[in-house]
């Protein structure tokens, strides 16, 4: 264990609940968050087959309001935000002027002139600062709402049934990547059909003072169908199986969306300029002429687990780097996401391995995701 300066960790509104449940806590981006309550493997499988309950209150909410809100977001982000309908959500990114990814975001359009931007905990301040800076000259207000919300997610095939027992909101009419205001267990909530697990599920944005009440109601409603509290550890293996990128791993300021294989989020066709447009146009052209490394999936033949930063090798040469790796509870084998040279990126490419602390372990190259739910 390395010793670091003691820093004051932030606690979510559900902190006492986590401790009463015996959670193993971890420092995550300055927040004291539940890593797991029992076995992370059991929590993972519960989300795949039944349901899991997550505290995601560390995520960073930023509200953008005003007549110029859509224009500001179209300028500040790479997506076409003005085209998002009221009640819908969009996955997008915020980039630097040089095209490097500052963060990936979900933007909810709550009303005609009101948006909620949800940033990763580790980047919330960076995103807030960038939005404030980029708002100069726009008729829009950028508000730090990080302390205004607790966020509770219910994920897994049983989650619609659990939520339906606690709300009159029209969940059947609520599509994937949409959100509507409603009441859950008597608590006012923004009910969003989003998540980061590869399963159907909901994210509930509520006032922090309502978080415990809502958590307890959800836990009770899910008791009979196998709902369990879930920590960040299984959230990471769930998103990895689902092939979803994680900032700091698959996405960094050193990569443009085109390097990350996510060029489709960049909307050059939208009106007006946006931060990074020029650099991203160059990155797009470069990617067409000379394909960058490709994000692929790797499945182990053995049992040793590839970790972020490990070299991907073929014929004794380094051909890429692992960005995320873990034992996959669903596949029963170690898996990884890695950026590899285009020549070795095709599914089924022979002779690819990962250098695991000096030994080249064989890996199968596959297309992402590793897991896709049955609809």
């Amino acid at each position: 264990m390395s010793s670091t300066e003691p820093t004051e960790l932030r606690h979510t509104a559900l902190d006492a609940v986590h401790r009463s449940l015996g959670a193993t806590m971890t420092d995550f981006a300055g927040w004291d968050m539940p890593l797991r309550y029992g076995s992370e493997r059991d929590e993972h499988l519960a989300v795949r087959t039944k349901a899991g309950l997550f505290d995601l209150s560390h995520m960073g909410e930023i509200t953008v309001t005003g007549a110029g809100a859509a224009d500001l977001l179209d300028y500040a982000l790479v997506g076409n935000i003005a085209s998002v309908g009221v009640g819908r959500a969009r996955y997008t990114m915020i980039c630097q002027a040089d095209g490097g990814i500052l963060d990936d975001l979900i933007v909810y359009r709550l009303a005609e002139t009101e948006y909620m931007v949800v940033a990763n905990a580790s980047n919330a301040q960076v995103v807030l600062d960038a939005l404030v800076e980029r708002s100069a000259g726009f008729d829009a207000e950028v508000r730090d709402d990080r302390d205004a919300y607790a966020l509770i997610a219910v994920q897994g095939p049983e989650s619609p049934g659990i939520l339906k027992s606690l709300t009159d909101a029209d969940l059947d009419g609520l599509k994937y990547y949409a959100g509507l205001p409603g009441t859950v267990a008597g608590v006012p909530a923004l009910i969003a059909r989003t998540g980061y697990t590869g399963e159907d599920g909901f994210e509930l944005f509520v006032k922090p003072e309502h978080a415990v009440e809502l958590w307890q109601a959800l836990a009770k409603a899910g008791e009979g169908v196998g709902l369990v509290p879930c920590g960040l550890s299984c959230r990471d293996t769930l998103r990895l199986e689902a092939g979803m990128p994680l900032y700091g791993h698959e996405l960094t300021t050193a990569l443009t969306p085109f390097d990350a294989g996510l060029g489709r989020v960049v909307k050059f066709e939208k009106e007006g300029d946006f931060v990074g447009r020029e650099a991203l146009q160059e990155a797009a052209a470069k990617a067409r002429q000379n394909p960058p490394r490709v994000l692929v999936g790797l499945i182990a033949e053995g049992r040793r687990v590839p970790r972020a930063g490990y070299a991907v090798v073929a014929g004794g040469q380094v051909i890429g780097e692992v960005t995320s790796g873990a034992p996959s509870p669903t596949l029963g084998k170690p898996i990884a996401m890695a950026y590899v040279d285009a020549a070795h990126a095709a599914p089924g490419t022979e002779g690819v391995g990962v250098d695991i602390r000096g030994t080249h372990e064989p890996y199968e190259v596959v297309a992402l995701p590793f897991y896709k739910r049955q609809k």
């Binding site: 193993t24 890593l35 797991r36 076995s39 992370e40 493997r41 550890s233 293996t237 049992r303 040793r304 687990v305 970790r307 873990a326 034992p327 170690p334 602390r357």
Partner: protein
């Protein structure tokens, strides 16, 4: 959790049984198993190899991390637990029993092995 009284402990969270015919059994404690999370891979020292007290002799891999396995004593490895190699989750489910890791013919013990009470106190904070 309680640490069995009849065992002795290293600061690195290995346990060591009392020697029978000069051979002791080594495992990791429940405290260490809980800290690791679900163990998914165990690389144990080879039978016949020499291990040195306080030095790395294998590794335990969990969902989140890889941890070195240290030998609490100096000696020669006489047996490894193949059940754990095949099913590493035994380290979590029964760390002081079926989750044992290897047996060692003890040549030399370090002076700083802990009693159960001392080990419990070390991890009480």
């Amino acid at each position: 959790m309680s640490n069995p009284q009849q065992l002795r402990y290293s600061k690195e969270h290995e346990w060591l049984s009392a020697a029978e015919d000069g051979v002791s059994t080594v495992g990791i404690t429940e405290f260490a198993a809980n800290a690791l999370g679900d163990v998914v891979y165990a690389q144990l020292p080879e039978v016949g190899s020499a291990v040195t007290a306080g030095e790395t002799c294998g590794e335990l891999e969990s969902t989140k991390s890889v941890s070195d396995l240290y030998s609490p004593v100096t000696g020669e490895v006489t047996e490894t637990n193949e059940d754990v190699v095949n099913d590493p989750s035994l380290v979590n489910s029964d760390p002081f029993g079926q989750g044992w890791l290897f047996k060692v013919r003890v040549a030399e013990e370090p002076a700083d092995l802990l009693s159960a009470d001392e080990y419990t106190a070390q991890n009480a904070g």
